[in-house]
Each structure stands twice: as structure tokens, then as C-alpha cells.
């Protein structure tokens, strides 16, 4: 059927234009088309007729690509920014709006700084409220972009209002440790609150949750890049202003907080509008760092097992291990969000499992030692927060390791792994909220 080949090629080229249909899908659909043509010609139709019938049966491509888009929203959102002129994709929005929100955050931080009297050491109330000065603007930005209705806007505001009340009505003592813990955990809680407008209120959807995880990872990359660039800029500014007799430190005192606050919104806007730039970076970063971490963690685990914890075991170690588990979890999530769920298990999945397993071995040892000694160390807010976080992370990674063993041995599918992570996200939010709301009264605000 030589004469239909060019027509099949034409059809294929047309299907390929659909944003949510990727190369494998096109191949699958083409095989289907060819099977159908072969059967129809065998039944006596001419190649031309068979082609027409087969295409007709396949369905009109607009609704087909819409159907694909509904299933593969993850793919689609990469395409939103690359929209051709014939595709009425969601508008990316200009740069004025995000800039206004960034400016809002920057000015707010400046006002707060003046209110606090620009002391050398920021007062405790300022630290506790830090997330509340910036993240509402991020939530507002997303609420605008997703064009939320009044009811959804109010629901978006609820966690922020509650957080503001809790943080400022609790009678924290001077140099309160729980107050410091609140300062650390509140931004996490509020970040999850941002997920509500980000996900367009569909917080139950596992796909949208994965999108939010992806967004978080990409936002971190952009923020780090902005921070680096800003650092260079400020260093040079200082070097240039110094000879002119201007106290550069006074200038930077103004620029740094505002820049850091504004960058939160700018980074979010960059992720939204320049998605395709950064989405190529996440897989590269995971490819680079997963083996390195796996190596480091395995060496460390072996050393610990062989030599024991006797040496420099100090009480802050648990904090170090919290950080370690957060990084490992970050790697796992990055790798997950960058991966095509339909791909079979590969060597990278094994390396990642090795890293997770080594981290788990290390952590269980530290945790065991810690719990054994909690008697003579005493229960402090810090230790409760650190231990709690450690447990939350431990359970997550243990579950992930267990599922990835099943995945590697072919007894579970990759989407099962993804679901574990997306279903687990609320646990992090709940734990952070517990530290903010429950821990201070528990330790009488000391």
C-alpha cells in the first residue's frame, strides 16, 4: 500500500502537533491505524478507502488530543508556555502582575524592618512572622493567576489568618525555644497553604499534588540561581560604592531583605512561565547527585556499622540527620517528578534505592542511640521537634524503599510509588502545623 504511506505520514505529523500526545503515543496510534488499514484492505477495500475509514474510526483529532490532555496534564503543563498560535493555551500572563506582588512582599518586609527599629539582632516576633510577610503574596499571586472565586479566595486566606493569630497571640517567653521552632516550621505550613491556590483548589488530585512537588523543586532551583546572581550583584555594588565614601553596608541592609522577599514571587513566576528551561535541569541534577549521594551514604553507613557511634556522638546529630533525610527525600522526589512513569526500572532506580537504604540504616542507628539516651538527655522542645521530623521522614523513606524494591522486582508499578509520595504530603503539613500549634503550649511557651 505504497500510495497511503504519504497520507499516513501526513496524519502522523498532524497528530504530533497535539501538545499532550508524545512520541510513544503517536507510535501507538499509528500502529493501530496500520492494523486497521491492513484488516480493511484484506477485506477488499482499496488502500485509499481503508485509510479514510481507519482515520474516521480513530476519531476527530481535537477531541482525541483533548482526551490525552486530560489524562496527561503533567505533559500538558510543560507545553503551556510553548503554545503555538493555533492553540488557545492558558495565558501565561505578563510580567507586571508578578512584579507587583513581588514589590508588595519587598515593601512589606521593609516596613516591618523599620517597625522593628533595624536592630543588630531581629526581635523574636519578627522571626516568628517571617513567613507571613512574604508567602501571602505568593498565595495571592496564584489566586490571581488561577482566577479563584470569592469563596476560594476566603478559603485561601484562612490558614494565613489562623497562623497569624496563633503566632502572635501565644504568650511566648523571652528567648523562647518553641518560638524559634515556630519560626522554622511556619514557612513550611504556609508553603502547603500556598498549594491550595496553586492547585486551583483541587488539592485531592494526585496529579496536581505531583505538579506542586515539581513546582517546589523547580522553584528551589530558580531561587538558588536568583540568590547566586543577587549575591554577585551586591558584592560588586559594595566594592564600587566603598571608594565613593558610601557605607555599603547601610545600602545592603535595605536591599538584601527586600530582594530575598521579592525573589520568592519572581522565582515562582519564572517556574510558571519559563518551565521548559528548568525542567531539563531537574533530571540532570538527579543524574549527577544521586550516585554521589549513594556513594557518600554507603561509605558512611559502612563506617558507622563497623566503628559504631561511640566517637563524636553529640546531641545535635539528630538535626544533621534530619537535614540528610530531607535532602535524600528531595532527590527521590526530583527523580520521581522528572521520570516518565511508563518507563521500566533502570539502573538509576537501583542507585537511588541504594542511597535511600543507606540513609535509612544510618538514621535508624542514630535514632536508636538517641531514644536510648533520651532519659539522661531529657525531653526538650528541640528534641521533640527533631525526633518527630525524623520519624515522619523515616516512615516516608521506608515506605518509598519498600515500594521501590517491589517496583524493581516487578511486583508494583511506578505510579504506585508516586501515589505513596503524593498521599504522604499532608503528613508533612500536619507535622509542621503540630509544631507550630501544639508544641508551644505543651512546653508552656518556653
Amino acid at each position: 500500500m505504497g500510495e497511503v504511506e504519504p497520507r499516513i505520514a501526513e496524519w502522523r505529523a498532524y497528530v504530533e502537533q497535539a501538545p499532550a500526545v508524545d512520541g510513544h503515543d503517536v507510535e501507538e496510534l499509528e500502529t493501530h491505524l496500520r492494523d486497521q488499514i491492513a484488516e480493511l484492505t484484506a477485506a477488499g477495500l482499496t488502500a485509499d478507502e481503508a485509510f479514510l475509514v481507519a482515520v474516521k474510526r480513530m476519531g476527530d483529532l481535537d477531541s482525541l488530543s483533548r482526551e490525552f490532555a486530560r489524562e496527561h496534564s503533567g505533559r500538558l503543563w510543560k507545553q503551556l508556555v510553548l503554545s503555538g498560535d493555533d492553540e488557545p493555551a492558558r495565558a501565561v500572563g505578563g510580567w507586571v502582575e508578578p512584579l507587583l506582588f513581588a514589590l508588595g512582599a519587598a515593601v512589606t518586609v521593609q516596613i516591618v524592618r523599620l517597625l522593628a527599629g533595624v536592630p543588630d539582632e531581629p526581635p523574636a516576633w519578627l522571626l516568628r512572622n517571617l513567613g507571613l510577610f512574604v508567602l501571602p503574596f505568593l498565595a495571592g499571586y496564584f489566586a490571581r493567576r488561577r482566577q479563584l472565586g470569592t469563596g476560594d479566595l476566603l478559603r485561601t486566606a484562612v490558614p494565613f489568618v489562623l497562623a497569624a493569630l496563633v503566632v502572635n497571640l501565644y504568650p511566648f517567653r523571652r528567648d523562647s525555644v518553641t518560638g524559634l521552632l515556630v519560626a522554622l516550621h511556619l514557612p513550611v505550613v504556609l508553603w502547603f497553604a500556598v498549594s491550595y491556590p496553586y492547585m486551583d483548589t483541587t488539592v485531592r488530585s494526585h496529579e496536581r499534588r505531583m505538579d506542586f512537588v515539581r513546582f517546589t523543586g523547580e522553584w528551589l532551583i530558580y531561587y538558588a540561581l536568583l540568590a547566586l546572581g543577587g549575591g554577585v550583584l551586591m558584592g560588586l555594588t559594595a566594592a564600587i560604592l566603598e571608594p565613593a565614601g558610601i557605607d555599603a553596608e547601610r545600602v545592603l541592609e535595605w536591599v538584601l531583605p527586600s530582594g530575598a522577599a521579592g525573589a520568592v514571587i519572581v522565582a515562582a513566576w519564572l517556574v510558571e512561565s519559563k518551565q521548559h528551561v528548568v525542567e531539563n535541569m531537574a533530571p540532570v541534577l538527579t543524574m549527577l547527585f544521586t550516585p554521589l549521594f549513594a556513594l557518600m551514604l554507603t561509605v558512611a553507613a559502612v563506617t558507622y556499622v563497623v566503628s559504631g557511634l561511640a566517637g563524636g556522638f553529640d546531641r545535635d546529630l539528630i538535626g544533621v540527620f534530619d537535614a540528610l533525610l530531607v535532602v535524600v527525600l528531595g532527590l527521590v522526589l526530583y527523580a520521581m517528578s522528572a521520570r516518565d512513569p511508563a518507563q521500566p526500572a533502570g539502573p538509576m532506580d537501583r542507585v537511588q534505592l541504594l542511597a535511600v537504604a543507606a540513609a535509612l540504616v544510618l538514621d535508624v542507628m542514630v535514632l536508636g542511640a538517641m531514644v536510648a539516651r533520651i532519659g539522661d538527655l531529657g525531653v526538650t522542645p528541640n528534641r521533640v521537634a527533631a525526633l518527630g521530623l525524623n520519624l515522619v521522614l523515616l516512615v516516608n523513606l521506608a515506605g518509598a524503599a519498600w515500594l521501590s524494591v517491589r517496583f524493581l522486582t516487578g511486583r508494583a508499578t511506578f505510579p504506585r510509588l508516586e501515589r505513596w509520595q503524593t498521599a504522604y504530603l499532608p503528613v508533612f503539613a500536619v507535622w509542621a502545623a503540630t509544631v507550630v500549634v501544639v508544641l508551644p503550649p505543651l512546653f508552656s511557651f518556653t
Binding site: T31, G59, E67, R70, R419
Partner: protein, 119 residues
Amino acid sequence: MHIDKDLVAASATPLVLAILTEGESYGYAILKRVRELSGGELEWTDGMLYPLLHRLLRLGYVTTEWRTPSGERRRRYYAITDDGRAALAEQQRQWMTVARTLGDAWRDAGWLPTAFGEA
């Protein structure tokens, strides 16, 4: 007979899963089996099967693999998983209930098509 679009869509998942319990298969063969089973009464738009299969894949109900059997085209085969079987059993229960309820309601109304409602 023209079967309502929503009804076709609702029955698609249990139908595909049931066909896959007969053994792994690929898109075109699944559609042929649907036509066969329904005596040509269930009309699907061919292309729509694939987004459905991909959804089942994401839910972990099926697994997939590209293979080239000798002398044939390279095709993407789908096989049902244990989760898929469980989901099918659940769907079966739901459809049975719907069918039984409709059967009872129609019998009471006195215009039951004879073969219906025995399930």
C-alpha cells in the same frame, strides 16, 4: 441500536479490564474484542481507548511493554495487575447492583424485558 455516550464511557473501564484478564493484549486487539463481545453494538471511537489505557496504567491497574512479535509490527502490550483485578471485582459488584436495581424497578413497573434482571 445507539448506546448513549455516557453509558459507553462508564462501561469502558470494566470492559477493558475484563478483556485483559483473558491475557495481555494491545489496543487494536482490545477494540476488536469489544466489537466481538458486543456484537458490534458498542461503538467506540478507536483513539479514545488509548487515553483510557494510559489512565489505567497510571492507576497501576495495568502494566505495559513494547514488544515486536516475530513477523509483526512493534506494539505496546498491556497486562492486568493484581490491583487491576481488584478494581475489576469492585466494578463488577457495582454493575451487578445497578443491573439488579434496574431489573427490579422495571419488573415492578410491569415492563421487564424478559432476559433482564436475572443477574
